[in-house]
């Protein structure tokens, strides 16, 4: 929020004035009020493995993260380029595989990858869209210096927090929205439904029927699934509600079975169809892949998109962007060592204390080592794991992540953040101006995951 010369950074100037006029105790009381709103509404998530406290709140910080219109335009262009490249890459990988033939990506990296689904080979989803919803994780290291951390192209979560955080801010501080021209995010559910409907399968006659597929009430993101279905005005279904009848996927209603045209699924590929993938899955719909391939349902995101956001593929993203768009990437990739390569492994083992090492297939901040803050013992234990299965890991330098202010008892204090804007892909690419800002609440921490004590804040993109 503040420049080196202690003047507020430009996008924060109006907010800073307002903040200076506020009584700190009132803000702290407001903070409690926000927590009550979240608890009452049931905006919770589940942490797996915590039986006693199955529903937790994600801490909400009431100081918004503010991005200027100029900064946003730059970001949005970079994200759009990247998302277009992701879709082109997926189409290529499941068809002609030109990028492999051109020698830009090793064949075994794709074909030996669990996220690559041979069932998708030769099949083009309706509209040629693979990743209907993308959440690109971005960090900032300096003025105009943005890095993409991850392209979440499977089923990115967190968008309900983007919407609820904004709702909460507007309830608590309406005056701020008079003083600042904040671009709206509230129409996301409407855009999502429109975007999904526009990609109905060829077999759909009439108005497409959309449904959200959830693994159920015990899933960590169940609240979000219910929220999105509610806001879009569509059914929230579970695998047990669905059945393949006469070549269509149908849901069991109180008046019989009715067809679904577009399924926004929040169930992983593995569990989607027990006849095709994991036979023990109780969350999926037996036979849905046949319906899909026959052109009678749209699945969003398409099965098999995980190959594009795999951490092992990530390090090739600059090549991928350039290969399909013919231009240099607008957003930077974090330099990445692939531990599968002996040279890199050697380097990583020698520099563990300055690197972040991640599991290729991990998520949620589990199974990673943050070198600079780990103890010697932790590093030694991790080095052991690295030597055992080097192909399982990548390593990246710790970036000097930007900080934004959060409210603490003594006033404000800087904390590290990342940003996940949400992108909808149909015949066009729409990037919602805002996103989910996750913040590491522990002083000095770089881990922003909610499962590891991270919080969230409202994210403002200003008109200018």
């Amino acid at each position: 929020m503040i420049n080196a010369d202690s003047s507020p950074r430009q996008p924060y100037s109006t907010y800073h004035q307002w903040y200076a006029s506020q009584d700190r105790n009132r803000l702290i009381a407001k903070s409690k009020e926000a927590e009550n709103i979240f608890r009452k509404t049931g905006i919770t998530f589940a942490v797996y493995g915590h039986a006693d406290s199955s529903e937790k709140l994600i801490p909400f910080d009431l100081i918004p993260r503010i991005i200027s219109g100029r900064e946003w335009r730059r970001l949005a262009q970079g994200i759009e380029q990247r998302v277009i490249a992701l879709n082109a890459f997926l189409d290529d990988i499941y068809h002609k595989q030109e990028i492999i033939r051109a020698g830009r990506i090793p064949r075994e990296l794709i074909e030996k990858n669990d996220a690559f689904l041979p069932q998708m080979i030769g099949f083009r989803p309706p509209g040629g869209v693979y990743t209907h919803i993308v959440g690109t994780d971005i960090v900032r290291t300096g003025e105009d210096q943005f890095y993409v951390l991850e392209d979440n192209a499977r089923t990115p979560s967190g968008v309900s927090y983007m919407l609820e955080n904004r709702e909460t801010m507007m309830q608590m501080f309406p005056e701020l929205f008079h003083q600042n021209r904040v671009r709206p995010v509230e129409n996301y559910p409407y855009l999502l439904r429109q975007s999904l409907s526009s990609l109905a399968p060829p077999g759909c006659a009439g108005k497409p029927r959309v449904a959200v597929l959830t693994p159920g009430i015990y899933n960590s993101a169940f609240y979000e699934h219910a929220f999105l279905a509610d806001m879009m005005g569509v059914e929230l279904v579970e695998g047990s509600d669905l059945r393949v009848i006469d070549g269509k996927v149908k849901m069991r209603t109180t008046r019989g079975y009715e067809a679904i045209d577009v399924l926004y699924r929040r169930v992983d590929d593995d569990f989607l169809d027990p006849l095709t993938f994991r036979p023990d899955s109780a969350l999926g719909i037996p036979g849905i892949m046949d319906v899909y391939r026959a052109g009678n349902i749209t699945i969003a995101n398409a099965p098999g998109t995980g190959i594009s956001d795999d951490k092992a593929i990530y390090s090739y993203m600059p090549e991928i962007v350039e290969f399909y768009t013919g231009r240099k990437p607008l957003l930077e990739n974090v330099p990445t060592w692939r531990c599968s390569e002996p040279q890199s492994l050697k380097y990583v083992l020698e520099h563990l204390e300055e690197l972040v090492v991640k599991e290729v297939h991990g998520s949620g901040g589990y199974g990673m080592l943050v070198g600079p803050t780990a103890t010697k013992k932790e590093r030694a234990a991790f080095a052991e794991k690295l030597r055992e299965r080097p192909g399982n890991y990548i390593a990246q330098p710790t970036l000097s992540l930007s900080t934004v202010p959060i409210l603490v008892n003594k006033g404000i204090a800087p904390r590290h953040v990342d940003l996940r804007p949400y992108v909808l892909v149909s015949d066009k690419v729409q990037i919602i101006p805002g996103g989910l800002t996750r913040v590491a609440l522990k002083e000095g921490s770089l881990v922003v995951n909610s499962s590891q004590g991270g919080g969230t804040k409202d994210t403002w993109v200003l008109e200018d």
Binding site: R39, K40, T41, G42, G216, I217, F222, A226, A229, D230, E235, L236, V237, E238, S240, D241, M251, R252, T253, T254, R255, G256
Partner: protein, 313 residues
């Protein structure tokens, strides 16, 4: 609407109804023990029987004490009809069907759970009981108020109401059956002299001790009490009232869907017999037999609704 959603609504409201019922039974039990000088363990035996959990209680406890009985009815998770078990199950179902509920109804349900979970985290002290019973009634009232004030009168509303009244009819029939079973032999033996405290406790268990006086004499007569709880269509916990509501809500569904099920026949038949049979007919035939049959028909109706509206398959 999804069959699973209809199922969730039906059970959400059954559980909320049952939670209130368990709270009322505890209230009636506490009241009885206050108005007696001797030990009140026998009263709790009757309360546990009315709640249908007497045998379950013996599986968990060796002896019957009022403090254990209260705890069992209030917070024991081993008792699926305890207030806390019901609130948890009701909220669990509400969470599953929350896209079908208004924000107000969901929040009232969620806040009920939040408050009672905190309030019932530890075994309650006798001094806290009035406050606890009050909180349960108030919270259930808030859910009902939010539901009636904000929900569209559509199929969602119908399935919720059907759940409420199937449960309520079951509760009223059980209370009446158990109490009569316990009390009537004494009545026939002695003639007209009865234990007023016991009789009043029946009325208290269904929140009808004041209303009774308005409708009948001040004197508590078994036939009048049975009439009030079975046939009186103005009494909101009577079997007749419950079946008016069940039949009318099923009727809305039949008209909207253009489809009737076995459930419609069953509900209409039961309603017709509740309207036509006089209480003396019922007493002559045997109240216990009558209520037993009613409870089993009520269960069958629940099953027919489950099947007809594809709750599970």
């Amino acid at each position: 609407m999804l069959g699973r959603t209809a199922n969730g609504l039906y059970w959400m409201f059954r559980y909320i109804e049952r939670a209130e019922n368990s709270a009322r039974l505890i209230d009636a039990g506490l009241r009885m023990s206050l108005t007696r000088s001797e030990s009140s363990e026998g009263d709790w035996d009757g309360v546990l029987q009315s709640a249908g959990v007497r045998e379950l209680y013996d599986e968990v406890h060796d002896t019957l004490t009022s403090s254990d009985a209260i705890d069992f009815l209030l917070r024991d998770r081993a008792n699926p009809s305890s207030v806390m078990s019901c609130i948890e199950a009701g909220r669990h179902n509400a969470r599953m069907v929350r896209t079908a509920l208004t924000r107000e109804t969901w929040e009232a349900t969620n806040e009920c759970w939040i408050e009672l979970k905190a309030m019932l985290a530890n075994k309650a002290r006798p001094a806290d009981m009035p406050e606890i019973i009050d909180a349960i009634k108030r919270r259930a009232g808030l859910i009902r108020g939010a539901f009636h004030g904000t929900m569209l009168r559509n199929e969602i509303f119908n399935f919720s109401r059907i759940g409420t009244f199937i449960e309520r009819a079951d509760n009223t029939a059980r209370i009446l059956d158990v109490k009569y079973y316990v009390l009537l032999p004494a009545v026939s033996a002695v003639g007209s002299s009865m234990d007023n405290v016991q009789w009043e406790s029946i009325l208290r268990s269904v929140s009808a001790h004041r209303a009774y006086g308005w409708v009948y004499d001040a004197e508590l007569k078994p036939a009048n009490i049975a009439d009030f709880l079975i046939s009186n269509g103005r009494m909101p916990r009577s079997l007749a009232y419950c079946y008016e509501k069940i039949a009318s809500n099923l009727g809305y569904l039949a008209r909207e869907y253009g489809e009737r099920h076995a459930a419609h026949e069953t509900a209409e038949e039961t309603l017709a017999s509740l309207r036509s049979q006089s209480i003396s007919d019922i007493m002559d035939r045997g109240l216990h037999e009558y209520l037993e049959e009613f409870i089993s028909h009520n269960n069958r109706l629940g099953q027919e609704i489950t099947d007809g509206y594809r709750f599970y398959q």
